[in-house]
Every structure is written in structure tokens, then in C-alpha cells.
Point group: D3
Amino acid sequence: MTELVTFGETMLRLSPPEGDRLATTRTLEARAGGAESNVAVAGARLGADTAWLSKLPDSPLGERIVHELRGHGVDTRVAWGDPETTRLGTYYLEPGGEPRGTDVIYDRADAAITTVATEELATETVADATYCYTSGITPALSEEAAETTRELLAHAQANDTTTVFDPNYRAKLWDTETARAAYEELFPDVDVLVVAQRDAAAVLGRDGAGSTAGTPAERVARGLIADFDFETVVVTRGDEGALAVHEGDVYDQPVYEAETLDPIGTGDAFVGGFLARRLDGGGVDEALSWGAATAALKRTVAGDLAVVSPDEVAAVVDEASGGIDR
Amino acid sequence: MTELVTFGETMLRLSPPEGDRLATTRTLEARAGGAESNVAVAGARLGADTAWLSKLPDSPLGERIVHELRGHGVDTRVAWGDPETTRLGTYYLEPGGEPRGTDVIYDRADAAITTVATEELATETVADATYCYTSGITPALSEEAAETTRELLAHAQANDTTTVFDPNYRAKLWDTETARAAYEELFPDVDVLVVAQRDAAAVLGRDGAGSTAGTPAERVARGLIADFDFETVVVTRGDEGALAVHEGDVYDQPVYEAETLDPIGTGDAFVGGFLARRLDGGGVDEALSWGAATAALKRTVAGDLAVVSPDEVAAVVDEASGGIDR
Amino acid sequence: MTELVTFGETMLRLSPPEGDRLATTRTLEARAGGAESNVAVAGARLGADTAWLSKLPDSPLGERIVHELRGHGVDTRVAWGDPETTRLGTYYLEPGGEPRGTDVIYDRADAAITTVATEELATETVADATYCYTSGITPALSEEAAETTRELLAHAQANDTTTVFDPNYRAKLWDTETARAAYEELFPDVDVLVVAQRDAAAVLGRDGAGSTAGTPAERVARGLIADFDFETVVVTRGDEGALAVHEGDVYDQPVYEAETLDPIGTGDAFVGGFLARRLDGGGVDEALSWGAATAALKRTVAGDLAVVSPDEVAAVVDEASGGIDR
Amino acid sequence: MTELVTFGETMLRLSPPEGDRLATTRTLEARAGGAESNVAVAGARLGADTAWLSKLPDSPLGERIVHELRGHGVDTRVAWGDPETTRLGTYYLEPGGEPRGTDVIYDRADAAITTVATEELATETVADATYCYTSGITPALSEEAAETTRELLAHAQANDTTTVFDPNYRAKLWDTETARAAYEELFPDVDVLVVAQRDAAAVLGRDGAGSTAGTPAERVARGLIADFDFETVVVTRGDEGALAVHEGDVYDQPVYEAETLDPIGTGDAFVGGFLARRLDGGGVDEALSWGAATAALKRTVAGDLAVVSPDEVAAVVDEASGGIDR
Amino acid sequence: MTELVTFGETMLRLSPPEGDRLATTRTLEARAGGAESNVAVAGARLGADTAWLSKLPDSPLGERIVHELRGHGVDTRVAWGDPETTRLGTYYLEPGGEPRGTDVIYDRADAAITTVATEELATETVADATYCYTSGITPALSEEAAETTRELLAHAQANDTTTVFDPNYRAKLWDTETARAAYEELFPDVDVLVVAQRDAAAVLGRDGAGSTAGTPAERVARGLIADFDFETVVVTRGDEGALAVHEGDVYDQPVYEAETLDPIGTGDAFVGGFLARRLDGGGVDEALSWGAATAALKRTVAGDLAVVSPDEVAAVVDEASGGIDR
Amino acid sequence: MTELVTFGETMLRLSPPEGDRLATTRTLEARAGGAESNVAVAGARLGADTAWLSKLPDSPLGERIVHELRGHGVDTRVAWGDPETTRLGTYYLEPGGEPRGTDVIYDRADAAITTVATEELATETVADATYCYTSGITPALSEEAAETTRELLAHAQANDTTTVFDPNYRAKLWDTETARAAYEELFPDVDVLVVAQRDAAAVLGRDGAGSTAGTPAERVARGLIADFDFETVVVTRGDEGALAVHEGDVYDQPVYEAETLDPIGTGDAFVGGFLARRLDGGGVDEALSWGAATAALKRTVAGDLAVVSPDEVAAVVDEASGGIDR
């Protein structure tokens, strides 16, 4: 039985070798990347029975995505689009280095998933699952994708599947006002909200100011719970770690230090680690530490995916990692 | 002053390493590819003063294309599209090997060039040039691209620039009927037609049957001249070489044998070699042999582009090539 | 439900880049390779619901194998061995080129699978499956592996699962006499025998001589059926194609020509293609052509695995493949 | 019309992959490198109409250099040397890492440029240009190169082209005394001097001691202006940034922090950024910040060349760079 | 004549590219690695006449090891094992990055060296040499290897060859009690002991506590000399440098800072540098600084081997290294 | 004791990846290449005790050459030139493919070996050796190299070392007349001449015409023996195999067919195989077949060097090679 099901777009990520630039490169590394499949891979690798729902073109390129995700143990449940009329979303990633930022060029318009309809999807996995996760990227892709997102979350709710949502605001996809409206339309069907503090401030207009109780992050979390009746809110704060409010209690989790080889997918690794631990019976505090450890490990691995093992995550949590094991 | 100007789309060509498949590959080689820029590069490398007109997104990806073409000496005259709303066309190329065919997956819908307008282009280079080349791929891309193709050819004609056209039929872009209508609308403004015998048969409905004079290819050429008043018609016949009818005379050119590493762009190399020799004062016969030699050399080089030199082409024509030169 | 289940060892195949030699190379390409997983991958890719049973060390290396096979859609059912006491079998492959042969260096002694016991395996998949395949390599690995092979085949027979066996003689593993005895001990539990003509002659002592009816291959097949009551015998003859005798009828299948990039796994691809077509309702003649086509396509792909699609196999069978599809 | 023209040698730079050593490596990355073409590429990429004058062997190796520079938009004006008697200068670069220094092995003796004569060069570009740049490396290469340098600078002066010179002392080419004499012979024809503080001290004997007004760098600059009547002197001080004295005013520019992937070409990037901004109408202060930003970005890119864009430089100057842009 | 002879196992080290993981990688870099050959290579590169004794399978894989070591000037004196019955030890190395440790997976059971006998080895080189080095890894491999180690050290002692031993404890090979017993059985035949402080504490039960004279490391060294009559004891302390006690005097050596690309083999580089300097007439203090400098340089180079030169080591010792030398 | 000593230049061979061109490539494969070291490596690998004499710059580049040759078991006896004033010869190799020839660009002027003097060389190895080999390339490099060649051959003769010489005419180094005079000056000190039939014709003016006895190759051989009193003459005829005349007898050897991956060094492999077999006691007929087999195997390996084993050569000679050995 599926424990975790995620729904969203996965793209082919194309990036030049270190030190090369997109404007001149002759080779590109190809990898699968997308918030919801990133969460699925982290979850599956950490032991959760995980399915991923999406739509892809019925071509070697769509198969390429499935091949990579399936290798990590994800049960890929894909609606196949007509390869003549739909395409695979791609994104070009050019890693930076101070003072040059990391550049992301999306080429995802008209991807197969923009035509997705609820009827095409394996909704029975949603009904059966313990957790159903999607991010705020999906409703930004098209009206059809937004509608399907709404229907899936409602379907999950109707079947007592706990829904998890991360707004994951992308300025290249929509403006903050449109995004906020879309998020808030979904919130009634969301149980667990994971939100970056900067998104809470910039998009949801919640910076935790105006009160003196607790940290700003705690005030943001409590405010969201007050307004939308979430079961749990996790606020991620980059280098400052994460904070959760769950059933009235506050949990604080610092980050684990990491030598960052590739930062893309860190937040998704956090969610995957968090949910895997919850599924394994862990409390919110344990789940936060698993999320933070998975995120730290992810940063040492190339690509969007958290190619990690439960033993490695446990070692970080137990502060037993590092050194040369021989 | 420009001798040769070409107009058309150039894509980023993405191909896996030898023996790998698109469905599983982790690396892709990136190269510029497009019929008209292929012709431009061959022409420029063989000594012609060459410009290429196109439209690209104003992004590192568009710059990537310009960077590669410019390196070969092509004067790139690009209209830059808004990177938020236009994209770079790409195509995935998976080289085959008997009995597996070479697979091409186009991902070119909504490329920047589909929005091209004549006013954006450096039409003064067309007016000044000796030859203006485009292929039948361009009008297949969008109504705007088709309209611009018509206007450019008419502009060339009005300025005594010799126009060259290769239908280059692509079944993945349109059906044969639509293509034929589009080609025939352009033919009144075309002086030199280069056409694959299989396109003449399958698209133009001319298989050279119904007469006994000359070879089928010759009959195709003479029929086209009779109907559309071309100055020159070159019929390419794959392994059987090319045949031209020019001012009533027939010229026959066998292929030069080649160890084929990459067949893509062979036909474009032929056109580039043919035109470069014509510009250099060569007769149709000489130009055919330069076209054939450039095409044969192209097959030994990876990528769409004919990365060759005049000395190499001359050596093939003079049958002086081969061996180890030390 | 599983249609095809295979059981056997999968190794890490390590091979130097083209033109390099094992004695000097600095890089090795790593791929999964093993007769039974090769069959499983071909079967799964061609649409069969396929499981693979094996034993691997519980380490990143064992996981590496599972990761690759799972990517192709194989349901991997692995018994995990203690990483302290079991290891992953590896083999070094140095591709040759006339007059230099292809060199295979096995480093598979004491691999985890040599300790496999029937109780560790997902025998329920065998009982449920339509076909159960293993090769003569497995019983050569250790007494435990031989015993488990016997028990699995008997278990399959007892549950009306059709058993398929290919002796796949390996001179580096055992001598012909020992091998023959082991094969013949298994034959009573085998329904479908696929055997290379050279193995029939060299190991089973059957060269088809001594009679004048039919070809030697046919006589070999009929003789084996007479002696061991196989349902079907397929004799593979390298470049001369395959021949099957099934319910008294003879089917002859020539090879499809192929540009060989990597010959390893050709025979396994044949079996995978054959069984996939049988499962899909094809007759023995159709299955033979699917086997031959899968084998030919395999030769164009690097690695042991037949990374092919049903459409590609169908195109070869229909002689509709080749050329550039654009 | 050309805004910036540079003159000097460009070599093929050959470097092993990270972690490999020249003494054992089996692959070398090949790139174009040379102070004056580095400046030209930075200038061209930042929008200046830029030409580069040099001499190369008329061979695929010489063409290789032109191909790379032209790709960045530089107008390459090359005198072609006889490939039988001239060669392409090369240099081997082995990147270090504390405590191992970066090793440079020059193999540039008898390069084509050592035979360069003024008559071979496109001197009309010098006469037309706004700025003409060369470095103190060029006169170190041969007597002919020194003579041509003198003549070009004089020609520039005679045509009101502003001349820019960077001594760029190379201990592997000549001793400090010879270098100083050569520099000082050129100084009367130099308008803008860019000089590393360590070269000013070690070669020109100017350490800014013996006075108390301003910083040592300022004293060096003022002293050079007093003695040689330069219009502008820029003193670069490594990690401590640059200082300019121009028309009596002092401008101070700190460095922008950078994660250094490849330090080679940093100084040339500075000059290219400085001149591009001056050409674009910027004051000395703005030009210094553009120089510093271009230099910092260069350090994040592999190779000698500053593969950067005006937007990127502006973002660094505006302190708006960094992060992940999605 | 041989100055330094070492004896021990060398494995094929297989490691994925940076950022890839063993569990998913498709390429492995292959290098020779083993404590004793690491010491031999460092010694040979720094000018010592060096031989290395070992046993390898008589196959391209065994030859692969010899090829690499010989390239560095080591005189390889190998007993060749039957390739049918012996194998090459391998180890998989996955470099980490905080918080992920470096993972080492040994696959060395039943390597050829486990069958080594003294009679197979070139013992005359031991008798002639100035120094004979082996590590505590060798006796851990098999009873035969342990016996041969004992015999070789005794043979060296009998011939006035100074013996050098580093326990180099490997938890994956044996437990601390067994190791300690084996080490102490060898100590009577050891002249120079190099021991990591952590091994002294964890395995030899000596943490330098219980006294107040000198540092703990000094007390460890003096205690070992008191108990086993070593001529010299060098205690290495990771980032805190090394300490030697020799003829009653104490020598302290800090580490040289290094940007670490690959830490494997650092300790062996230290021993190689130390012995090379001793052989060149250096005192213990000089030898320690050469050891530390060789170790620091090693960290900047990929692989187990210290690919360094005497000039580079001298420059580090003289603090004259760093920067760009041009 | 040395059995075979060779003397000559070894260069760094730089070649682009397959399908890339020197005019555009960004990576170069680096390998050691030179006729005399090619012979040395083939000889050493086939069991001969082999030394190689040369002169190289005392730099990492010179060391690079030694490293590679030493790995194959060659005893490198190098005179080290001042790195400030001598350089490493290089050559750029661009593999072709019909109709494009293989291009070689030498960059060997002023290489260290051009300054070589007999006194710098380990002449004692020449005096002790059974065979001393050099090619006609060496005297073409400089007057000093020519003088040293003469002295070495005379020294060999004086010490009863059999001298072997292959003119190996290089049109890029000198004209045929100068070459012939130089060869003929050396011939009195040559015992065994190996000469390509095309060099005999084009340079030595011997095409075997003017007589009817035997084949032209035999007449060439007999004529050379008559004129210069060679002990043995071997005439190589490309695809037509080799012919030897030795003590009046004629031996004819066809080529072994080969799939050619890299033809460079084929002739040197032939000489190495021939001499290794002679040293091993083989007659001229056996030696010819070993030469031919070594040459055929060489063609399947990338680089100049014959990376082969005695077993492989024997298998080709015994026509027992090919297939997959498993």
C-alpha cells in the first residue's frame, strides 16, 4: 500500500559542467528534477512506500524521467500525453559561485502536465495513501493543472489522506498576488503546510511582525494555523533552520552544516525526510531532524535528488557521520 | 559585402553519447543545428562572405547558438525575442545503427522564430547579397515565419539577389499537401531549386515517370523548370549522387564515398559547397563536385555543421585525399 | 500479477572506454549485467510484467544493481546478504576488434548469490508467474545456487508455471562434463529449452549428425525433445539464426543484420523478446521474429541490456526500421 | 567602427582535469589564452566593438584560436604565418591548491607572432579605434614583436587613439632590467597605464615609499604621471583592489569577493571591464567598478576568458547578484 | 641498489565522479591504491631507489597495478598468482563532504596476496635495502600474509636493514585485540614505528595519560620505546602534526595547511617523504618536515598516490610555494 | 642485461575526441608517441629487456613521457635538457575517415633532442645490447641528432651489437634527396634494414624494376643487400604484407586483417614484434609473423603504442584469436 503520494511536474534538468557556461557549453548533464518527484525520491529512499503522479509525453524523453525516478524505488503512475502535441518540460541550470548567482532558465511552457486532468490520474493511490503532497508550483503551470490540484487535494481530504503543501513560490511563473490567491484557495484542503519564511513574507504577507510572543517564524506559523486551521505548519528559514507548530507545541530545528555541491532540491529533501520519519512513527521533533539531515546530505550530491540512505540520515541526526569509514 | 545570406531556424541539438539511448542517458552533447545555418557555416568556411538571419530568445541559450555559428565566421544577424515569452527550439537526436533508425525528437514549437517579422530582420543584407538561401522548413514553422519567408524571397528577387530554395520536407512538421501548396506559392520567387528526389516524388508529385528521355531525375528537373521557370534545378538522389539542369544542360555528379560518423546536415553541406564554388566563379559542374565533396567530408564530422576547409574539399575533388599526411 | 520471473546472478560489469585496455585504463564504465536480469529487462521493456529474484550484498553496490534494473521496470525481489561476508560479483569486459578477441575477466567467486537459499526468495512470484526463466550459469555458481535452482524449477512446475532454461555454458566456470550432468538433472523440470547450437554440440554431445532428416539444428531439437520431453526447443545458431521445434512443427528464423556496437547480452535479448511475444499471445513463429529483432537491436546499444521499445522491435520485424525519422 | 583594438599573442592553453597532474595526465583541456585577446573578449562581451590583431600559423591550430575568439564577438584580424616555418605558442597550465602553487609552462618560443611586422597588420583599425591596448608581454616575445609594438603605439598616438598599456611582467620571459627599459621606451606613447603594484615595485622600482602623502599606490601613480605624463594610471593591488589617478583625482575601488575556480585572466578581465565602461560613457570611478566586477566574475569561470554578460557585471556592481534566480 | 623496499597489497581503487554516488554511478575512476605501494611511490618520486614486493593475479588487472606503479619509478617485484584461483583486491571509494563521510567498501577477500609465501618474493632486495617498510594491514589479510610479514621483517633485521612499521589499523579487517596481538608479535623486529595517535590509544591501549612529562604523544612514544626498544617512534596526530622521539630527543612537526581534494593516502605520503629524506641524509627533524610537506601536497592530488616532486616538497618546507609561477 | 636498446625522439601526441576537429576541439587526448619508443614499448611488452635513450626537457612534460613509457616496462635512460632552453616536441593528430585523411601537425622544432650529444647518453646500454634500433627520423631532427645517431650506430657496431634501422621517411621533415644521403651515410653501420616499399621507391630510388627475378620487393631487398651488405632486409608493403631476405633466403608474410581504430604506430609495432621474437630465439619467418601480428593488434588500440601481450600475439599467429572468451 502506498504511504506517500506526490503529484506534480518533473522536468529534464540540463546543466553544463563545472566552470562552463550555458552560453558556450558543448555538453549538458541531464537529470530529472521537480519538487514533487524530489520529495517522492527522498521519501522512497528513506523507506516510505511512495507513488508519484504526473503527466509526460509518451516518448523516450518522458520515459527518461520515469526511468530515473523508478530507479530510486518510486512507483511512477504517469498519464502519457500525445508526443505530437505535448512536450517534456526542461530547465537549464547554470550553477554559480560568488559573486555570480545560480541561473535557472525554465523551458516548461506547454509541458504535458499543463493538460493534465484528474480522470487521467491514479486517484486510487491518493485515496489509499497516508500522505498526499503537492507544491504550489503545480497550480502555477496551467488552469488545468490548478483545477486538477484542487480536485486531488479535495479527493485526499475526502478519504482521510493527510495533505501536505509547500507554496514553493516561483517568480518566473506568476506574480505574488495571483499566487497568494491560488494558495489560499487550496488551504482549506491542506493539513500540513511547509512554507519558506521568505514566501510567507513576500507572498502571503506574513512576516510575523506585530506581536512579541515567540520568534517571527512562530508567529507566522501560529497566524496561519489561526486563519486556515492547519494541523501542522513548518516554517523553513534557510541557514537558520526550521520551526514547526503542531497541536500547539513549538519545535525548533537548526540546520546541519554541509559542504554544498548542489543546493537545488534542498527544500524538497527536507519535506521528504520529514514525511518519511512521520510515516515511520516519528514525532514532529524527530521528523524535523530527519528533514534537516536529509536536506544537509542532499547538498553534497549532484542533481535535484536526495540520493541518500536511512543509515546516512540517522548518522547525521546522531552526529555520528563524517570521517573515513575503513 | 555579403555574398550569401541564409534565413531560418537554428536549434540546440541534444544527443546522447554513442551507444547510449535518450531513454536512459545522463549526458547530452549540445550543438547548433538548422538547415539554413548549416548552409551558412559550410559557405563561410569555404570562403564565402556569409550572413545568417534568424530570431532567437535573448538569453544565454540564444547566445549559445550565435557563439557557435560566429566561431565559423558567419555574420549572425539575429532578431532577439523576449526570453519571457519566446524559447529556443531544441531537437533531440539519437543516432541509430542498423537495424535501429536514427531518431529525431523535435521540441521546436513556439520557438522565437515562429514570431519573426520581416521588419525585425537585416533585410539590407538580402538586398546586397549574391545568393539568398532558405529551406522549406522555415514556412512550416508558423504563419508568421511563412509570411516572412515569402517577403524575404520577394525582396531578394526585387534586388536581383539569386534565390535558392530546398523544400527539405519534414513529415513531423506538416503533411505533404500543405507543404506542396506552401512550396509552390514560393516557387515564382525562387531561382535555384535544390530538391531531394524523394521529396520531389512524395511531396511535389513528380517521380519522373511518363517519359523516356533521360533519367527520372533529369525528367523531374526539366519538368520543374518547365512549370516554374527555375534558372537551375539540382536533384539530389542520396547514394546515387546529384543531377543538375542549368540553362538546358544536364550535369551529373556521383557521391564521394564516406565513412559516416554523423549523417545529419549532409544535404545542407552539399548546398553550402555548391554555392561557395559558384560564388568563387565555378561552373555548375564544378559546384556540384564541391557540393558532393563537402557533403562527403561532413559525414566524417560530428554535429550538423560541415567543419571543413577549402583545401580539404579541393583534395576530395582532386581525389588527392586520404592516407596519413606526415 | 507477474508474467515472467527470472532468477540468477547480476554482476557489475566494468569496461574501459573504446580503444583503451584493462591493463592501462583509468576509467571504467559500470553497468549491470547477468543473463537472467538481461532477460528480465528485455521482457519488461517489451511489456511483460516481470520480476527478478536474486541475492545481493546489502551495500551501495548491491543497491547499484537494483537501481539500474528497477529503472527498466523490473520488479526486483532481492535477498540481501550481509555486506561483511558476501560480495557483489563483478566482471571486467574488454571489447575487442579483429584480430583481438573480446576479453571477459570474471571476479564473481563468493558473490552473495553463492549463498542463496530458496527460503530467502520470493517464491510466490514463481508460483504465480506464466514463465520462469533461469540459465545454466546459476547452478555453476555454487552448490547452494544449484540446489536453489533445482528447487525453484520444481516449485514452478508444481504450480503450472512454464519453465524456460538456457544452458549458457561458461568454460570459465566449469568443465563440460560437470555442466552436462547439472543441466540434465534440471531438464525434467524444464518446459522450454533455448540452447546455442555450439553448446548442444560441445556440452550436450548433440551435433545433429547421424541422421539425414532436416537440418542438424532440427535434429538436435528433435533429439532433445525425444529424450527429455521438452514442450519447445529453440536452437540458436549465431549468424545463421534460430530454429524452434514446438509441438512437432519446425520454425526457422534468420537473424536481422545489425551494426554491432556491443555483442554482450544478444542471446538474452533473444530470449526476452521471444517470451514477451509469447506472453502477448504470439505464436512461436512470431516470438522467434521478436526474439531475433530484439537481439539485433541489442547489438546497437552499449551494455548487456536490451534498451529497446516494443515499437522498435515491431519496426524491425516489419522491416520498417532504419533511416532518419524527422 | 572599432572602439577597442588590442594587439598581442594568443596561445593554446592546455590544462589537465582537476586533481590530475601534467606529469601523468592523459587529457588536456584546450582553450585560447593571451592577455590582449583576454581583454578583447571581455570588452566585446560587454558591448564594445572590438578587434584583435595578431599573427598565427595558417593551420587548424591557428584557426582554432580564431574560432574561439570570434565566437565571443571579437573581430579577429590575423596575419597568417607560414605553417611550415611558424608555430602556435602554447602554454601548459596546472592549477594548484594550497600548498601547491599553480604551474605555468610556456612553450611559446618561435611562435608566429615573433615574426610579426607592422605592415602585416590591419593598422587601419588602430587608427580608427577609440582605445588601443597592448601589454608588456608582446615586446618581450622578439625584437620584431617589440618593434611592431612601438610602431603600433606610435601609429595610434598619431591618430588620436588613446593607448592603454599594462606591463604584465613575466619573469619567465625576461629579467626586470630589460623589461623596464623596454617599458620605458614605450611609455611616451602610452596614455593610460594599468600596472600591478608588485610590477611597479619589482620592475619599475617604484614602491611608493619616500613620501607620506596618500597611500603607496597613489604615490606610485602620481610618480608615474609626473615622470611620463600619463593621462590615467591605474594601480592594481590584488586582494586590496585598484586605485586610479586621473586628471589629478584619486579613485579607489575594492575587490568584489569571489569563489575562485580559475584565477588566470583576472587582470585582463579588469582591463576589459574598465575600458568597456569608459567606452560606454562611464567615468573613471564607474569604470573601476566594472573592471573589478568583471574580474570577480571571471574568477568563477574556467579558462582565461571572461565569459560574462553586461547584466551580470551590472548586478555585481549593484550588489544585486547571488542566490538562485527562479 | 635498492634504498627502500616495501611489501604489501595494492588494490584497484574504484571511485565515482564528484557528486555521484556508488549506488547510482555509471562511471568509476580506476587507480592503484595500497599503503605500501603508496609509500613506495612517494619514496621513488622523491629520489629514493625503491622496490615494492607483492603478489597479484597474472592477468590484465594485475598488470594494470604494475603499470601504474612502474610509471612512478618503482621497481615492481611481483609474485604472479594463478588468475584462475586468485583475484585482484579492489576497493570502492566514495568521497564524502560534510556531513556525509567518505565511504570505503573493501572487496579484497581472497586477493592473490592472501596466498603469498616468502619464497615467492624477491627477498634479496630486502637484504640489500637500507629501509624495509610494511604496514599493519598486511598481516590482517590472511595467516599466510601474516607469516610472510614476520619472515620478511626478521630477514631484514638479520641483514641490518632498518625496518619501518605503521600499524594502520583497519576496523573493517579485524578487531583491536587481534590486531594488537599481531602488531606486538612483530614489534621485536621493528626499528622505526610510525603510529597514528588514535591507533596508539584505541588499539595499543596507550593514550599517554598517567604522566605529566611532555605531551601525551611524547609519552606514547617514550612508552613504546621503553617497552619495545624502537630506534625511532613517530606519532602522527592528524591536524595537530607529528612528533618523533629518536635517540632520546623529541621533534615536533606541525602540519602544512592544504586544500584537500583527496585525503586518502596522506599518512602513506608522510612516511614516504620522511624516509626519502632520511635516505638523502636528512636528520629526523628535516625528515619530519619532508613527511609533512609530502602529506600536504598529496591532499591536493586525486588518488592514493603522492604525485609530487622533490622541488615541490622543498618549496613547501621552505614556505616558498603557492601563487602562479609565470 | 639489456636486449634491445632504441634511440630517438618521443613527442606528446595530442588528438581530439572522435568526430571533433583540431580547428574547434576543446579537449585533447595526450599520449606518448615516437617511432623508437613505440618499438621499445612493443619489445618490452613482448618480453624483451628494453632500454630507450633520448633527451627530454627536465620538466613535468618530459617526466610525462617517461612516466608513460616506464609503465610499459621500458628502462628509460634520458638525458635531461634545461627546461628554460629546450622544449618537448609535440604533434597534433587528427584522425580522419574516408574521404578525409588523417592529419598530423608536427610541433617538434627545437625539441630537447635536437641538442643531444653522444656523451649525454647511456652508451653502455648500446654496447651491451643484442639489438640497437633507431629510425631515419632521428637524423632528420638536427645536425647534432644526426651526428649522435652516426656515433651510436658506430659504437654499436664496434661492440657487436646488431643495428636495426628503418628510414621512416617524413616528408614534413626533409626532402627525399637530403634524406637519402643521410640514410646512405648510416647504412655501412646498419645490419638489419626495415624499409617501407614506398620509401625504397620514393627516397632510395629503388622500385625493384629492371629485373624479372622474384617480386619487386624481393628485388629491392636483394639490391640493397648487394649494395650495402645488410645482414637482413625487411620490406614492408602495407596491406600486402612484408618480405624479408636474410642470408639469401626469402620470407614472405601476409598481413593479419584488423579492424583499425588507430593506424599510427603500426610499422613500429611490426619492428618491435619482429625483434622481440628474434631475441626469443625465433627464426626470421617466425619473427615476421610476430611482427605482423603485433602490427595487426596495434591497430585495434588507441595511441601510438602496441599495448599487447605475448599471449595475444601468439593467438593471432596461431589463428586462435577472436570471439568472446568467457
